[in-house]
Amino acid sequence: MSSLILLIDQLARLAIAPLLFGLIATAGALSLIRNWRVTLPALIVQYVLVGILLARVIPPGVAIIKPFAGAIVCLAVSLAAQRADSARVRRGESIASQRAGRERVRNMNWRSLPAQLLVRAIATVLLFTAAFGATERFPLPGGASELGFAAYVLIACAGFLIATAPESLNAGMGVLMLISGIELAYTPLEPSITVSVLLGLMTLLVGVAVSYLTLADGGALGQGHDSANAPNAGAKESDALTVETPRTERA
């Protein structure tokens, strides 16, 4: 544990640019791609980077809470996503298996990329530009401009992801990214253990809720006994059976 804290401390002393580039890359990946097998590892990397950035303003022993909480949340979400995919495969409506994913990438026509992906790419570039502009025009208080830029990037990409992703898994990852952005913005203002612990606990609880909603979205909650209280439950089920392309694999 102490060696991990030491590592975070040493990484936090490195130049800021690689950290920010890493953060931009992970935020961009989350905004562009809708496949959880790609986005969840990106989210874990993002948590590590956020932890290192936080270690620049709070003690590394406290900043490490963020990557730990993030890793636990990502583990829970990945288990839920796996179960949801399995449920889809069992119902015969999903091609979300790893083998099918590899086939799709192998057979993809790279000359005609999906329009949605292009739109998301353009929007993401615009968001990065807006985040950079906001850092210059409306610097966040606290005197840590690099953290301000990181916070703007995460909040902007999270907002975009929440607004455009219809499924709970990706919207949930947007919510988790939004919390990271808020933490980066607020921690320099109140660099206390209390805030970090409370935000870490909050991340865990939100992660539980996102995992539960991912299971529900994939139809993997209590297989075979959907609540009678779900309005038009039957209609939803029949609609779902006609879906050919799983929503988690669109990109």
């Binding site: 919510v175 206390s192 209390t194 539980v208 539960y212 979205d217 309005p231 939803k236 929503r247």
Partner: protein, 467 residues
Amino acid sequence: MPASLVVIVLPLAAGTLAFVLRRWRSIEVLIAAVACALAMLVLAQPDGASLFGLEINGRLDLFGRTLQIDPRDRSALLLMFGCGLVLIVASLRTPENWTFVPAGMMLLGILSATLMIRPFQYAGLLYVVAGALGALLIQAEHSGERSTLGATRFLVISVIALPMFLGAGYVSERAASVSDPELISGAYAPAVQFLIIGFGLVMGAIPVFTWVHPVAKDAPPLTTAFIAVTGIGAASFLLLGLMGDFAWLRNAPLMSGALSTGAVLLLAACAALGWAQNSLSRVLACGIFLEIGCTLLAIASNTQQSIEAIGFGMMARTLTLGLFGIGAALLRERNGGDEFSSIRGCGTREPWLALAVGLGGLSLAGMPGTIGFVSHWLHLRAIGGNAEQVALTVLAGISVAAGVLRGLAAMFQPADGTQPRANSMLADQARGELWTVGIGAALMFIFGLFPGIIAPLAQVIAQGYMR
């Protein structure tokens, strides 16, 4: 031991225990009811009394933050637990999922903590926790594509509200050092704006369509009622408390203006859409819009009468939304949905469900003789000076009543052959439902005709916040 610890831990512990014993419905409801009753007992003790060694005004320091029951919040907390108790007991006869009692009790504990925590910006963190619990409560056990919109929206809104509370806290702490009287209002202005947005999001007021409609559509009706009563109630009392504590918030013209504008927008949306809805859950959502609109107008007035109206309104909402929710939940169970097209013929088969939906819905709209009428009367009296707002409130009520009447008319239309038939029911199940609806309907009339029975609690709440 500080009473605040007990008031928070009791519902959390009861929720955990209810989760363990969730297979036994009656036992989990009993546990939750006992926890609510104990919390009410603790909150009801007079100043200076020490029940079981509990200090009612004792401070609890947790993670460097203070949790303390302010004397003015005691009656509000008592009311919240009372309303939660009624709705949880009412769930005995409805097809609620396993999440209702455990997550509901935990939500009640967290919402009560939002009223106790100091500094106030940490209420934002607690709202995110409440949002996560609320998502479990809303989603319950139903699953499938597009079934998670309500829960996801509720969670997202609570997270978006977080930076508003944190920002307001930071700005107000910085502005406290400004001593120039001419600069003070400007220094606090961003904090006021942050709080307007934060409370608007939490209460489902801005932008107009946030979580209320998706939650009413996706969640079981009694769950919607629970969230509408406890969540909106807690947010109202927190805002009233802040307005009592901070002159910069109380005297900000922007605050009352924004509250009135938000209320007018909600009431206008309700008036325009309420009559045209085609399902009971959407009518319920419009009814909640009406309630939020009235509450916002009352908070904007911030007089003793208006706070009395808020307190009484919360009690009325518990009964009206509870009764409507029982009827709608049972209709959903029997017909697989609550669209008007799918509930045809239910009124003649099970008239007590028509009674629950009709009486609950019309009381929500403010029908004379019911508790809803008294609540609306108090709200209209509080905003009496503004004829346009009064007219809009009445119009919104009429629109909701039209939606309810359309639902009732559909229930008494003959069912066509393709409609699902009611499940065969045991006689004692039907008797139980009949008794539940009968008691709810009787209470609605009794408190509507003799509001003096419960009005003293609303008066005590108002006196506390006006002190």
